[in-house]
């Protein structure tokens, strides 16, 4: 055990897997000599050499396209895209090929690759550096999508993602990179994909979130502790998401608040609400609420706290949902 922040934990996961499995390759812009702009890949180049820790030219689409090729010929590439806003260039490769390879060869070829990138706002970043593109990846069949919410979670989920036989989009909440420290084993361990985690039990209202917003939810829950007993669920895997755990919880509470950083329209919150209203129709005592960023272009840092869900906005939604008769 060691005390790690999320960057350390992710680095440890990569280190473990590079060591364990000679087929694992880490690639991306500045992941080698520089150790990654957030230092997630720090010191890996020295340890594993430049064939396995690969500084690529600046071309996200080719990074993912080449990763697919690598994965078809025996490697397990873990590609880094430097920031959320630069993943759009990878969509063509992801949707046209990565997600389809297993289907298109009837299982002869598969794409056991990981694309990881820092996502989300509230770190006063430049334009295009504060996006939450999860819904895009979730909408396209064939990809798995993961977003951890703490250092311990990050390591276990990343190792699971690397060992997964399917392509996994791994979204790292950059706001949490250095914000939380906790005990994390130095040896490898796995948190299975597809299983949500009940972070806190409660009886009045269910809160579903993931990634960096989970921490905001926990703060909000503390704020409203006197007024509402909250059950907080960390989704962890966004596709396939753990319907069972959410259904069970809503079965108990009858109320649901979903919180994410992405814009509302066609976001993952819509999918969860649509699914739960259908499967828990007779159990719901109040409309399902979504707390999200607005359906606008992410504003520059001066106004970002007015855009992304704040603790107070979340708290307000919890109280409203919990108390509605």
């Amino acid at each position: 055990m060691a005390v790690m922040n999320m960057v350390d934990a992710l680095n440890s996961a990569l280190d473990n897997e590079l060591e364990r499995d000679p087929r694992v390759v880490v690639l991306g812009e500045d992941v080698g000599r520089d150790g990654g702009v957030f230092r997630v890949t720090q010191s890996l180049l020295k340890k594993y050499g430049e064939l396995r820790v690969v500084d690529t030219p600046l071309a996200e689409s080719a990074i993912v396209g080449a990763s697919l090729g690598m994965s078809l010929n025996g490697l397990k590439p873990v590609a880094e895209v430097q920031f959320d806003g630069f993943t759009y260039a990878t969509f063509d490769q992801l949707f046209s090929h990565v997600a389809r390879m297993r289907t298109r060869t009837r299982g002869r070829f598969t794409a056991p690759l990981v694309v990881r990138f820092p996502y989300g706002g509230l770190v006063r970043a430049l334009e295009h550096h504060s996006e939450s593109p999860e819904a895009f990846f979730c909408h396209f069949p064939g990809l798995k999508v993961v977003a951890p919410s703490s250092p311990y979670e990050a390591k276990g989920l990343l190792i699971a993602a690397i060992r997964d036989p399917d392509p996994v989009i791994f979204m790292e909440p950059k706001r949490l990179y250095r914000a939380i420290k906790e005990d994390v084993p130095e040896t490898p361990y796995i948190i299975p994909l597809g299983e949500a985690r009940v972070v806190q039990e409660g009886s009045d209202v269910t809160i579903v979130s993931y990634g960096s917003m989970l921490q905001s939810c926990l703060e909000a829950v503390k704020l409203v502790a006197g007024a509402a007993s909250c059950e907080v669920i960390d989704l962890r895997t966004l596709t396939p998401w753990d319907e069972r755990t959410v259904i069970d919880s809503v079965g108990k509470t009858g109320r649901l608040v979903i919180v994410h950083e992405a814009p509302r329209n066609c976001g993952l919150g819509g999918e969860i609400a649509a699914t739960i209203q259908q499967k828990c129709f007779y159990k719901l005592s109040a409309p399902i609420a979504r707390v999200t960023s607005w359906d606008i272009i992410t504003p520059l840092p001066k106004m970002e706290t007015r855009h992304f869900p704040s603790v107070s906005r979340i708290a307000k939604a919890i109280i409203e949902t919990a108390t509605l008769q």
Binding site: D92, R102, R106, G194
Partner: protein, 355 residues
């Protein structure tokens, strides 16, 4: 204080077998009779496949189909220069390349008939499935080559794409990666002069497509794509270079004799005269002239080759059409390694639907 030249480049052209079936011995590959025969067989099989596919399509027994007529030398010549352990990353018009490698034609028919089961790539073939989105497959070749290099597999990867594909970013990004990482990959550009209706000259202001390699600092050559020996020779040299970690771009200069696909009417945008000019350069009759001249076989034997090829193709059609209906489970089975709970639910729903 200077105005000087920093770098100079030139692009070369290779032809071995001319339109009269005469060869230039200096540049000829080692032409064993077996090789010539193999090349001829593959080209004829490809042509026969095309003819049948077009006929089936007219009867509604096949989806939209893009014929490879005229390009057989480029497809067969390049494919035959590879070893069994080498990879092909195709575009969508290279049936002849598949067939040259012994790929089962019935699988090709199943696919072009719209049956997913035709996509079950047999274990012994190192080929990716057809790539419909133009140019997107090229980076895959680079990744496969990277893995080959890292895992010391001594494999070469050849990827096919058209003249149209050279306008897309994927093409260029992939070339650049191959140059930087010194990968065993061959970029096989089948320049058939058209991307649907757009003529080559309007696809790019570059005088040749081969010169696009200069942008990535890698080697390139333009070959007569209707000359199977030149195609074979250039690929063979590129394979050698690839095994030393040097990528190559080869521009196969040829012509799409048919419509773009069965949905297209090429007469809307090109002249019959132009097509007739290229008909004279037909790659199959050119090789036939050579072989007959060299007495590698006679006319009668050649007819037998055609007959056998057509038989093999019609057998394949029969097999493909006998495949039967696909179970509904099958369209769900390969989305993920394991069915997700949601897909299990949806499969249940799908099963219930009256058909």
């Amino acid at each position: 204080m200077v105005f000087r030249s920093l770098a100079r480049f030139s692009v070369n052209y290779l032809q071995v077998l001319d339109e009269h079936g005469q060869i230039d011995a200096r540049h000829a590959p080692k032409l064993t009779p077996a090789l010539v025969k193999h090349a001829f067989d593959a080209m004829v099989l490809g042509r026969a496949f095309d003819e049948t596919a077009l006929a089936l399509q007219r009867e509604g027994r096949l989806l939209t189909y893009g014929p490879g007529k005229g390009e057989e030398a480029a497809h067969a010549g390049s494919a035959l220069a590879l070893r069994k352990g080498d990879w092909i990353v195709p575009s969508f018009r290279e049936n002849t390349a598949y067939l040259a490698r012994g790929y089962p034609p019935e699988l090709l028919f199943e696919y072009w008939m719209g049956d997913e089961r035709g996509q079950k790539m047999p274990k012994e073939h190192k080929m990716l499935p057809v790539a419909v989105p133009v140019s997107t497959q090229i980076p895959h070749a680079v990744g496969i080559a990277y893995a080959a290099k890292l895992l010391k597999k001594n494999e070469v990867v050849l990827t096919y794409f058209g003249d149209g594909a050279t306008s897309k970013g994927d093409f260029y990004e992939a070339l650049n990666f191959a140059g930087v990482f010194r990968l065993p990959v061959i970029f096989a550009c089948i320049n058939n002069q058209y991307a649907i209706s757009l003529p080559r000259e309007r696809q790019s202001a570059a005088r040749t497509l081969a010169q696009k390699a200069i942008a990535a600092g890698i080697d390139s050559i333009q070959v007569d794509g209707n000359d199977v020996f030149a195609c074979y020779r250039a690929t063979q040299q590129a394979v050698e270079r690839a095994r030393k970690g040097e990528p190559t771009l080869i521009e196969f200069y040829t012509y799409r004799m048919g419509d773009h696909t069965t949905s297209d009417e090429a007469s809307r945008y090109r002249s019959a005269k132009e097509v007739a000019r290229w008909a004279k350069r037909d790659p199959i009759s050119r090789l036939s002239k050579y072989a007959l001249g060299k007495k590698l076989w006679n006319k009668q034997h050649e007819q037998k080759i055609w007959k056998l090829a057509r038989k093999r193709i019609s057998d394949a059609v029969a097999k493909a059409e006998a495949i039967g209906t696909q179970p509904i489970e099958d369209i769900f089975a390969y989305t993920y390694s394991q069915p997700t709970p949601r897909l299990r639910e949806q499969l249940e729903e799908a099963r219930k639907e009256a058909v």
